[in-house]
């Protein structure tokens, strides 16, 4: 386990620098002069331009700029917005809402997705199974923002069960957005756990367990589920990336003051530094989550430690 852990962490380092560099370089190659954009139609005097270039190191080559940037990021400095406010402060304000939303969505995914998948897998070929297969396929096909508006109209406006938008009622106002955010991954998890369970149920060890006289509950609950959940766990890590993209859309639709909406507002206001800062932060979170799940995966499935 120790060697596996070390190898995973070592692999993480180049990916970390590579991904942050990629974002930085993609922004760097974009056309447009950030200083000219500051001044509007009237050009700035040349010495002001030069002073600004020196202050933000814009006259340095790409790799040096990246070096300065990544050193700052590792010290928790994600840059400032146009008014000079550190992006980190904005993130501190907005992060709690997003974390709550993501946790609630994760909860829905795991509880509803797994239950539906397992029940469908056990009753393969029966009515509930077909219901799960068809409904998940439909959910996968509906883009998240269409689903969000539909939920708003039906559950917020017509039925009035949930707040339509905003964050005035705390956790309760997060219920509907979290459900919308969870829906896509929920469908995938249901299908994945169903398939995995069905495959494992045909395995020899299941036959052995049955032959030993164990009841169905034990055969499925103890023997099969543990093996079937391994791919689901892997999926949950990758899913975090989808949750982030989804959070930007969901928070925008439901008007939640989270990180996702901060990204949206920053794109509207053309605050490049804020967009890049938050995106870098999210990608770092995503990478760390992937690393953690890799380690967890090694614990769950000893085979992959010995490759």
């Amino acid at each position: 386990m120790g060697r596996y852990l070390i190898r995973r962490v070592l692999q993480f380092i180049p990916v970390f620098f590579g991904a942050t560099f990629l974002i930085f370089a993609l922004v760097f190659v974009m056309p447009g002069d950030p200083i000219a954009a500051l001044s509007g139609d009237k050009p700035l005097p040349p010495d002001v331009v030069q002073a600004l270039q020196e202050r933000y190191h814009l006259d340095e080559p790409l790799y040096k700029q990246y070096g300065i940037y990544i050193t700052n990021v590792m010290q928790g400095d994600f840059g400032t917005d146009f008014r000079g406010r550190p992006v980190v402060d904005l993130m501190k304000d907005r992060l709690p809402v997003t974390i709550r939303l993501a946790l609630l969505a994760f909860f829905f995914e795991v509880v509803i997705g797994l239950t539906a998948g397992v029940v469908a897998g056990v009753r393969k070929g029966q009515f509930f199974d077909s219901l799960v297969l068809i409904s998940t396929l439909i959910v996968i096909a509906i883009p998240i923002f269409v689903l969000g508006f539909m939920a708003q109209i039906v559950f917020g406006v017509k039925l009035g069960w949930f707040p339509i938008s905003g964050y005035r009622q705390g956790w309760f106002s997060l219920m509907l957005p979290a459900f919308v955010l969870a829906s896509l991954s929920l469908a995938y998890i249901a299908r994945l756990s169903r398939t995995s369970l069905v495959e494992n149920l045909r395995a020899d060890y299941v036959r052995t367990a049955k032959a030993k006289g164990l009841n169905n509950r034990r055969v499925i609950g103890i023997h099969t589920l543990r093996n079937s959940l391994i791919p689901v766990v892997t999926y949950l890590a990758i899913d975090l990336g989808a949750l982030m993209g989804g959070a930007i859309i969901t928070e925008t639709i439901f008007n939640l003051p989270g990180l996702g909406r901060a990204v949206f507002e920053a794109t509207q206001a053309q605050e490049g530094a804020v967009v890049v800062g938050i995106a870098t932060f999210l990608v770092i979170v995503y990478m760390i989550a992937n690393l953690l799940v890799d380690v967890l995966y090694g614990v769950l499935d000893p085979r992959i430690r010995y490759e």
Binding site: Q11, P14, V15, G18, A19, I23, V27, M30, P31, L133, L137, I140, A141, I142, P143, I144, F145, V146, F149, Q152, I153, V157, Y188, R191, L192, T195, V198, E199, N200, R202, A203, D204, Y205, V206, H223, N227, I230, P231, T234, Y235, A237, G245, I248, I249, T252, V263, F264, A266, T267, Q268, G272, V275, A279, L282, V283, Y286, N290, D294, D301, E307
Partner: protein
């Protein structure tokens, strides 16, 4: 009880595939959409795929005589209602996107403010939007953007993935490591998030810009898939035989490896068209995709959101078209998988 039960189950699967094909038929169906996502970074998932793909290779050898994989697949597809339905919808959508003027009842850019926000009627089938434009005609013209971005992006992504993936999988060694590490890096950048970052910095965005960004961000998943598929095919005897007969590496890849490794790529590409169409709509919805006066379902939905209570039809029609389009590409992928995955036979 063995201490390594799931490995056993894998072997058990390989052994029983032939006899239980009827049982297996509807379970295989879900593998790919998830694999698309789970083909991600870690080697463990790749291993998972390797273990499965040798089954594909064995299956190919066991096909009945006089039937190529494609001939067989086609025969099965023709009998499958899911395939027929999704194929018809996709063909209709492509025709609409090529000749939108033929289907539209009005000029989508000619709007009368006096007709603002009319409800659906016999004159305006889907009603009119705030500017008084005929909403049906706009929805029809929106097909063009979605379908073209979906097809352009997936076309180029497939080329990158097939070239990169087969080089990486076939030659192995340091080329494989380099491509593998680059893919790892690309993999941790979620498409929508990366798209927002890049596109928010571009002031004028058309179909070309959005497609380019989605290509730049979207190739990693598919490349991994091609690589693992090529790796599995490469292990076959006929590849050794071709090499022994003096075939060049390029010839082996093009004539022997790729034709046998391409099936999973086609399946995922079909699904991917749907995914890309949804991504474009999401970006346009967030205001970083296409810009007015372009006609895009994402933009239409974005503009409709302020009126979801007074004029819900503004949301419903483009939303329904978008969903139907994505849905039919995903269904198509499902049907193709059922036909092309020889494990089912």
């Amino acid at each position: 009880m063995s201490d390594d039960p799931s490995k056993e189950s894998q072997e058990a699967n390989d052994g029983t595939i032939g006899d239980e094909s009827h049982l297996y038929a509807d379970t295989v169906g879900e593998h790919l959409p998830v694999d698309v996502v789970t083909a991600a970074g870690d080697e463990s998932t790749e291993k998972h795929q390797f273990r499965q793909t040798p089954g594909v290779a064995v299956g190919l050898d066991e096909l009945p005589r006089n039937a190529s994989l494609w001939g067989d697949a086609w025969r099965q597809l023709r009998r499958q209602p899911i395939f027929l339905i999704s194929a018809v919808i996709i063909v209709v959508l492509i025709i609409i996107s090529m000749f939108p003027g033929f289907f539209a009842t009005h000029d989508p850019h000619q709007c009368n403010l006096i007709d603002s926000l009319l409800k659906p009627s016999s004159e305006h089938w889907f009603g009119t939007d705030l500017q008084g434009c005929d909403y049906y005609s706009r929805t029809i013209y929106g097909t063009r953007v979605s379908i073209s971005i979906g097809i352009i992006v997936v076309f180029f992504v497939s080329i990158i993935a097939i070239v990169g993936g087969s080089v990486s999988g076939y030659y192995g060694g340091s080329v494989d490591s380099i491509i593998g590490r680059i893919t790892d890096i690309w993999f941790v950048i979620p498409t929508i998030l990366g798209g927002i970052v890049i596109l928010s910095l571009v002031s004028t965005r058309g179909v070309g810009t959005v497609s380019l960004v989605l290509i730049v961000l979207g190739w990693a998943t598919l490349l991994r898939l091609v690589r693992s598929s090529v790796l599995a095919v490469k292990a076959n005897d006929y590849v050794d035989a071709a090499r022994a007969m003096g075939a060049s590496n390029t010839r082996i890849i093009v004539r022997h490896v790729l034709p046998n490794a391409i099936a999973p790529v086609i399946i995922v590409s079909a699904i991917y068209v749907g995914v890309i169409i949804a991504a474009e709509a999401a970006l346009s919805f967030l205001g970083v995709g296409l810009q007015l006066p372009a006609i895009s379902w994402g933009l239409m939905i974005s503009n409709a959101q302020r009126r979801i209570i007074t004029a819900p039809y503004l949301l419903v029609f483009p939303g329904a078209f978008l969903t139907l389009t994505v849905f039919s590409f995903i269904l198509m992928g499902d049907a193709l998988r059922d036909a092309l995955d020889p494990k089912l036979r």
